[in-house]
Point group: C3
């Protein structure tokens, strides 16, 4: 997509400062941008790049006042990040259009599967009996869709995704490469006589509602009975573990390598940091924030709590305790010295 | 499978209270169960659901005394969890029977591979030269079985599993989607002159004994030389890392995202929590219990130890120390105030 | 490869003690080695095995003095580990030669893809339009190479690897099974009105330089704009998360299950332990060492720092504080008792 700065400004509602006729062909980072690219400046820490960038145009906020002369054309907008996001979406769509194909001759789709209009199925992908795939959904190469799986409209499943039998996806979901939906929950009953573990069959499924996005190699286990449920708008990063019978509320966001143990119920609009753990059967109120690497071990009933530490505590309290911990040997030595000094004084 | 309550009671050795002729077609969770379903009540915390459930029948223990009137038919058994497990197994078998197929026309099986009776190989799966697969084993779609791999009887390998060259599986193993068995161990020797790392080739293999079950996207590396060994009855959850030359004893159970570093030797009947780490070359005695998120850094010689913290300590001690840590600023302030007060008194 | 001890000694520059004509056919661990195998002794802790091993030959250092009689032939070398590594490499090459094939009839390679000489493409692998694969590179089965990917010479990609559109690999890279290169970065902008998250498209790529090795199921996300960059000689273990726009310097080594958050810049020759986390936008100086399970939360400017704890601190300080923490209840009780005693004395 090649376009003049003034044309682009019209599209995004920007005002133009500098050459309106410069040609823009792609977005780039401010420190790497060259001729033909558009970049942006939102964080003041990057301002110095503005005076050296090779970009042809730069998005800035309405009230930005440069301290030095600027070569690129400036496009002023009210919401820089929002505009960047829209702009990137346009280029991304260009890309997606290129990969869209019909059902590949190398795919294996069972007769009893149902494909909506404009469904694309990639090479060496499998769609098993009874699966239903909604219109506009793109299934890339080497994907497995198990028996009786239902997938909504306009989803994208990247290579190597596995969606196992009976699982359900809503509309506009995105599953990145090698995601596994519907592996068996980890359920075993010890046999007290032999010490062996007998498998508790896992016959439930996983249900993803609309606009759920799941990062590469994340695993979501099927429920023992009933469903593991991921509500609308949830965003999961890479390599996350979601155990059986978990429920995650709307618009909750979880960073990479976090783990949610069995039957935990996470509220809406929570934010859970990377490598954090949520214990089995814990319920987290809406808006709970869990710090990276911390461990939540029981119910959080107050909405909006900030948690840190393992086991968890109120995060600001954790930091206060940790500040003392950092100097613990000298803190304790000072107390001991003070006591020894008092003892000496009394002895006199 | 549709069956009357009285027929089912015969099958599972239950006594019947209420309508013996109600038809039961599937299991369900007590809070979601509708007509035609059977559910169970084992945990008293769920008792209130019993009085509202739409289930047609409920499994309860022999001595359970309802506090309110109950609509569903009650089936009384000695061991509620055990019976549920058996019941689910029956339904699961129904499912498994549906997916069983012969060798798919879309699979690639080398001439020199040996398949036992009733082996099923799914679409786009590969079985390389010299591999041997025991009777009744089901290999689902898009699985990779490398050269000279040996797999026992009645195993199930889910889509996307990779078993690399020379690895060995016993009987009745289950490998969930995207498991990797036999990736190279992480072995590099620094070159002191260049600062580069030279690869130490990893020419050993991985050996799984019988009844091992491995969760989705778990990785088990091959030994440098010799074997990484997982003994009978071990159960591993999802996204676990097992490094080269590790040995895990019988019936040990490990929760999701735990990591076992190189050459560690885990005893029998150990329980290791989620996101825990076991350091390289550590030996853990039988029955060791490791708390979630903790880190074990040297040998544990006493059987049955409970460990927590990073580095690990006796878990109850960890909790006691952590209880003080939680209030550390006020504990220290109080001590300082007391000392100041004493100093003032002495000064008088 | 069968060879006499004396011939092998010539190849590796060893001096021979004992039977020079014994035949050696494969390497093995000292405690498992049998006739025909060669093993090594480098760590004195294993010396007792030397007197019982069934090996035909053992590599030892020039100055090793046995305390008991030794049956196998001894081959003395200056650098035992280095020699073992070379020896294993020879056997591994033998193996690699066996798996090398031409482009499989079961692969799907687009017409616009370019394959160098001696490229091997395995079964059910996909090479999309515009991809370029350098000479001697081996792509095993069920691998996905996306549109416009560029791969250098002599790389090995194991089954189930996914390299998504536009990513670039240098020469001599090794990607183990189920690695994902170029999944979308985790970028979402909250909509303050609805609480929903809007995706920030990720249109950058991932660039791996030469000699990078990546463990099974590790994920490396593409940059929002620009590139996520892994410099030459970096070695990553299994199940690691590398987020968008991260940069990792030459010869840095990272252990399993570590996580590197967005835009972090890791220096050269760093060593990062298993399950450690590096916070977003943190810069780590060259040679930084991060202890397993710790969390780095801001810039490390001094080269060679050793870090531990979460949040991180100087690792030796962490251990000193932790030593007090271990006894915290008794340390505090002792202080309280001393103060009470002083108070009593003053009261008298």
């Amino acid at each position: 997509m090649k376009i003049t700065a003034v044309k682009l400004a019209e599209m995004i509602g920007a005002t133009v400062e500098g050459n309106p006729d410069v040609i823009i062909s792609s977005p780039a980072k401010i420190e790497e941008a060259g001729p033909g690219s558009i970049t942006f400046l939102a964080n003041p820490a990057y301002e110095h790049h503005l005076y050296n960038t090779g970009a042809s145009a730069v998005l800035v906020s309405l009230d930005f006042a440069p301290r030095e002369p600027v070569k690129p054309t400036l496009l002023r907008v009210a919401d820089v990040y929002g505009t960047v996001s829209n702009l990137l979406a346009v280029y991304k769509q260009d890309e997606a259009a290129q990969t869209r194909r019909a059902v590949s001759a190398h795919a294996a789709v069972e007769d009893t599967a149902t494909l909506g209009d404009n469904v694309r199925i990639g090479k060496f992908s499998v769609v098993e009996q009874g699966a239903v795939i909604g219109e506009g959904t793109v299934i890339l190469d080497q994907v497995y869709i198990g028996p009786n799986v239902t997938i909504g409209k306009d989803c994208v499943l990247y290579p190597g995704v596995r969606v196992l039998r009976d699982c359900v996806l809503g509309d506009n979901c995105v599953l990145h490469a090698n995601v596994v939906i519907g592996g068996d929950g980890f359920g075993f009953a010890p046999d007290p006589e032999t010490g062996r573990y007998n498998k508790v069959p896992q016959i439930g499924n996983v249900v993803l509602h609309d606009r759920v996005e799941i990062g590469a190699s994340t695993t979501i286990d099927r429920a023992t009975m009933g469903s593991t449920v991921i509500h609308s708008g949830v965003k999961l990063d890479n390599l996350i573990q979601v155990a059986h019978n978990v429920e995650i509320g709307e618009n909750t966001v979880i960073a990479a390598q976090a783990g949610i143990a069995g039957s935990a119920k996470i509220g809406k609009n929570c934010r859970i940091g990377g490598q954090a753990g949520i214990g089995g059967h814990c319920t987290l109120a809406d808006g709970t924030q869990v710090q990276a690497q911390s461990g939540v071990i029981n119910n959080i009933t107050k909405s909006g709590a900030k948690l840190g530490g393992s086991p968890h505590m109120h995060y600001p309290d954790y930091l206060r305790s940790y500040a003392v911990f950092k100097n613990l040997p000298s803190v304790v030595n000072k107390l001991r010295k003070d006591i020894a000094e008092l003892r000496r004084q009394i002895g006199q």
